[in-house]
């Protein structure tokens, strides 16, 4: 197998991430696992946003529904394995039911419906005091035995992220991925080459809700508590910002975006009060000057670089 420079760097990074707990203090490990949770969540959004070209303004519903399903199930029945499977399953059910209605619309209407449906789920979870704990949510969610120490929890979020990211990468580069991208870029043309665009977009939404469901489980492992906040639309807006800052038309964009946003907010929150202001400025600068995001920007630089030295060879 011929490996090249890029794959080596990747393997080094993964090895470093796996061994991080030996090197870093426990707070940095906690922040790292938050990054892996958010990065997977952002990747799941970007499947429909960047590739599928759909304005999904409320992806947090799928993460929240999965986290709540796991927590409520485990609290009442206690069997972890079923809980872990149930989370993404419930997310997929929500993804399918919402998707069936969403694919009938496009553009702004699609976006508005995601907000309306998402906030409907938030309102029910927020108000169903007796079942979901209402505003308090579930302060402490039991986890399986093998996730009792923070290092084990960190490794779990990392492994979940690596496997899911690899799967998503494969999907994005699969025949289905190509058709999803095509439908996202030009729905009419896709129809005229016999692509059933409604079904392709629906499949995209369902897949994205599945991976958001997995990130919901990863979230519970990381935070060990759930509150209706995770279902509020602002949570979805924050992840949208992460995708854009990273670059929505690249695979790694959402990962880099999530890492940058979380690192900046974590470091900033230790020193200053106005984190939202910082995030706002970053988003403003990205939208105006770096619409392709950090990874898009770098790729263009390398791309021009290669093209440039080709001319001189």
């Amino acid at each position: 197998m011929k490996f090249n420079r890029k794959v080596y760097i990747l393997l080094i990074l993964i090895a470093a991430a796996l061994t991080a707990p030996l090197v870093l203090d426990s707070y940095s490990i906690l922040v790292l696992s938050e990054i892996f949770v958010t990065a997977l969540f952002a990747l799941s959004l970007n499947l429909v946003l960047g590739y599928g070209g759909m304005l999904q303004f409320h992806q947090a519903v799928f993460l929240g529904v999965s986290a709540y399903s796991y927590s409520l199930f485990v609290l009442h029945s206690g069997s972890f394995i079923i809980g872990i499977v149930l989370g993404p399953a419930v997310a997929v059910i929500f993804g399918t039911v919402m998707g069936v209605f969403l694919v009938r619309l496009s553009g702004i209407y699609f976006g508005m419906l995601t907000i309306a449906l998402g906030q409907l789920v938030w309102a029910v979870v927020f108000k169903w005091y007796s079942f979901t704990g209402g505003g308090n949510g579930i302060p402490s969610v039991p986890l399986p035995g093998f996730l009792s120490t923070s290092t084990e929890r960190y490794e779990a979020t990392l492994i979940i992220f690596l496997i899911s990211a690899f799967a998503l990468y494969k999907i994005v580069n699969s025949p289905f991925g190509l058709l999803l991208k095509a439908t996202g870029q030009n729905n009419t043309r896709a129809e005229s080459i016999s692509v059933n665009t409604k079904v392709v977009r629906l499949t995209g939404i369902v897949l994205s809700s599945f991976f958001a469901g997995i990130s919901g489980i990863s979230y519970v492992i990381y935070s060990q508590s759930v509150s209706p906040d995770i279902l509020y639309w602002k949570n979805s807006a924050e992840i949208l910002v992460a995708c854009l800052v990273g670059g929505i038309y690249t695979f790694a964009g959402p990962i880099v975006g999530s890492a940058v946003i979380i690192l900046i907010t974590t470091i900033a929150s230790q020193y200053m009060e106005y984190i939202a202001f910082v995030l706002g400025i970053i988003l403003l600068v990205s939208v105006l000057f770096m619409p392709d995001g950090i990874v898009g920007f770098i790729k263009k630089r390398i791309g021009d670089g290669i093209a440039a030295n080709k001319r001189y060879q």
């Binding site: 906030q119 029910v124 106005y274 984190i275 939202a276």
Partner: protein, 290 residues
């Protein structure tokens, strides 16, 4: 329930609806003309209330001072919208709508914190002007005079918007741009001017909404959040970009809420979202569409 109670609820419902319309009109105008959701609309509403607090501090407590401050606050927010449009939004017109919407969301984050930097984190409240405090004894119950403010500003908005849209050249172009922008540009008309006016009028209305609500609410950086979600839903039900549709939807929301206190069970907060979702699914163009 006897007739007078139903009448009292209708009056409260309509005046609440008028308040929602002041905010919804601006949002749907921007949506129709610029084809983007202005997430910053809630922040402009909040700014309206903060400027109102500052101007009332200068102008004093009299009723005349209240209305002067309200107008000043609305104009100030309109001016801020002008700067946003000219300095920021204008550069994105060719680009995808997602970028423009994310730009407005960045303003939500920036305004939220800058308000606390400028006015501090204490919270403010504006005293109710004498003319409007107390209540009328009509329909056998007490209707607070404050609703007068909602009614007047709502009607004012209806009239001014009608004049702008149907009686001014720019308004007609704005309507044309809303239906088919490329055609308008093909005829050599500069659509950008209508974008600027739509965004500024939207800002003025959001500021006015904040100013007239200031006596009744806590003026804080989070005040925009809950109301704006409601206004989004009014715009959806009314039909994106359809100003008169949002007027009817606003009144429906106002009345259903004011009766809701008596009838709806505890899940009352979920109903507006459900209504909006259903309307979007069945009639995406809103209740007035054919």
């Amino acid at each position: 329930m006897d007739l007078s109670i139903v009448a009292s609820y209708l009056l409260i419902g309509i005046s609440r609806g008028m308040f929602y319309f002041v905010l919804a009109a601006g949002l749907t105008l921007i949506l129709g003309v610029l084809k983007i959701i202005n997430f910053a609309h809630g922040s402009l509403y909040m700014l309206g209330a903060f400027f109102m607090y500052t101007f009332i501090g200068i102008a004093g407590q009299g009723t005349g001072a209240f209305f002067l401050s309200a107008v000043m606050a609305a104009i100030t927010v309109g001016f801020i919208s002008f700067i946003i449009e000219q300095m920021l939004l204008k550069h994105l017109y060719g680009k995808e709508h997602l970028m423009q919407m994310l730009l407005t969301y960045s303003l939500v984050l920036i305004f939220g914190d800058s308000v606390e930097m400028i006015w501090g984190t204490d919270y403010y409240t504006v005293a109710m002007p004498k003319l409007l405090s107390g209540s009328y004894h009509i329909f056998g119950t007490y209707i607070s005079k404050f609703y007068l403010l909602f009614l007047i500003s709502g009607l004012l908005t209806v009239v001014l918007l009608w004049l702008y849209m149907y009686k001014t050249k720019l308004g007609k172009i704005a309507r044309a741009v809303a239906t088919n922008r490329s055609m308008v540009e093909a005829l050599g008309i500069n659509a950008d001017a209508t974008f600027m006016y739509a965004f500024v009028i939207g800002g003025v209305l959001a500021g006015l909404g904040g100013a007239i609500a200031s006596p009744a609410v806590n003026i804080t950086s989070q005040m925009g959040d809950s109301i704006i979600i409601k206004v989004f839903l009014v715009v959806i039900v009314g039909g994106l970009g359809n100003i008169w549709g949002s007027l009817i939807a606003a009144i429906i929301f106002g009345i259903s809420e004011s009766f809701g206190v008596l009838i709806f069970p505890r899940f009352e907060i979920a109903f507006p979202f459900a209504i909006a979702a259903i309307v979007l699914i069945l009639k995406p163009r809103g209740i007035l569409s054919k």
